[in-house]
Symmetry: C2
Subunit: 205 residues, 2 copies
DNA sequence: CCCTTAACGGGTCTGTGGTCCCGTTTGCCT
DNA sequence: AGGCAAACGGGACCACAGACCCGTTAAGGG
């Protein structure tokens, strides 16, 4: 007795299994970016990946399940942050990175789709939260450095500052028809820096 | 010859037609809040509304089409803003209104679903943009009043300030697992006010 | 207060997204 | 290197979302 049968792909993760996963996730990203979350068909993903559709259904089961795994994969490939020596410079670098990502045709559409998927399924939402957690952690140190330099008050919450940089860009992407431009990115960095200097992001007040 | 046949519901918009629309939109909102965008079934909406499913398919056709009409309806019922006499007070009132909306179980889920739908269809996205445009326009005057009072520099873009208040709340709702609390609402209002005072939202620089 | 016809509703049909079965390939352990 | 079973692949199968047909109800104009 016992739970002999684990999820497919966990017992023999090497060789073919890994190749199949890579091909399917790649295809899923493409399909998601091109056709959007609502029109995603797992059979189409299988076709693009050159894989049997049974395989996709067996290993991922649903669209949201596939997106969740895609997010795990995306979280693993984190880009390193750049350091400029000032808080505003660092935040601006971060804002422009986000801006470039969201305005890139493939990436922008992909992020929209992934966010849509996360609103429809708890597991996927969890994966999305992890993804952003990784990104925020990567950039948070620049705020601590600013505290050490005396640019912002001690006790400033680094995570809140970093999130404040991205928030306006995502909000605009999702709720506004206006084009995201570089000026918007710089503005969001400046706003976050100004608020941080003013002590808005101090912990427990 | 000619395009005699307009969209259903446009030629005889009174009486039964209006009742059906109201019932269906109400049911759609309920279903969307309960089951989410991905699991929305038009036949289920019809059942909840006490209406034939043929009617729903004929008038709205697709899930995203229905959501788009729901957004038009939502945009029409705009709540009046409150005035407190200071920019920070007004922004805080706005932030708390958004916060209350997003943390309300039904409304919060509904907004998530509606945003998800908008990422999947251009028409729906258009409707969503209009919805937020209405909301932002409703609140923008408080920024102009702050300019008149000398609280923020002349040339400050009112729309940018109002959007800056909502952005962190929506960003957190969508990308973070953490609970949205009143403190977060107040912080977003303070951040927007601080950035506005610092001249971050000045037009054309 | 009719008459026209826009709009609704039940019933039926069909295309396709998703499941299942079973034979084949290939990791991985000894 | 050999063998066991994990994972894959093709294709048949099934359930149901969504289209269609046609008879019924009730707006709205004269």
């Amino acid at each position: 007795m016992g739970f002999d049968d684990a999820d497919p792909g966990t017992v023999r993760p090497g060789g073919r299994t890994a190749r199949v996963r890579a091909a399917v996730l790649r295809a899923a990203g493409d399909a998601l970016a091109e056709r959007g979350f609502a029109h995603l068909d797992l059979a189409d993903v299988a076709r693009r990946a050159g894989v049997g559709k049974t395989t996709v259904y067996r290993r991922w089961g649903t669209v949201t399940g596939l997106v969740a795994d895609l997010l795990v994969d995306m979280a693993e490939q984190s880009l390193p942050r750049t350091e400029t020596g000032s808080l505003l410079g660092d935040l601006r670098a971060n804002a422009r990175l986000v801006w470039r990502t969201l305005t890139d045709p493939r990436q922008g559409a992909l992020f929209k789709a992934v966010i849509a998927a996360a609103t429809c399924d708890a597991k996927t939402a969890e994966a999305l939260h992890r993804f952003y957690d990784v990104r925020v952690r990567e950039w948070a140190p620049c705020v601590q450095q600013a505290v050490d330099r005396g640019e912002v008050p001690a006790g400033t919450d680094p995570y809140e500052v970093i999130r404040a940089v991205s928030a306006p860009l995502y909000y605009r992407l999702l709720t506004s028809g206006e084009r995201l431009d570089e000026a918007a990115a710089d503005r969001s960095a400046e706003a976050a820096a100004a608020a941080a200097r003013a002590g808005v992001y101090l912990r427990d007040r």
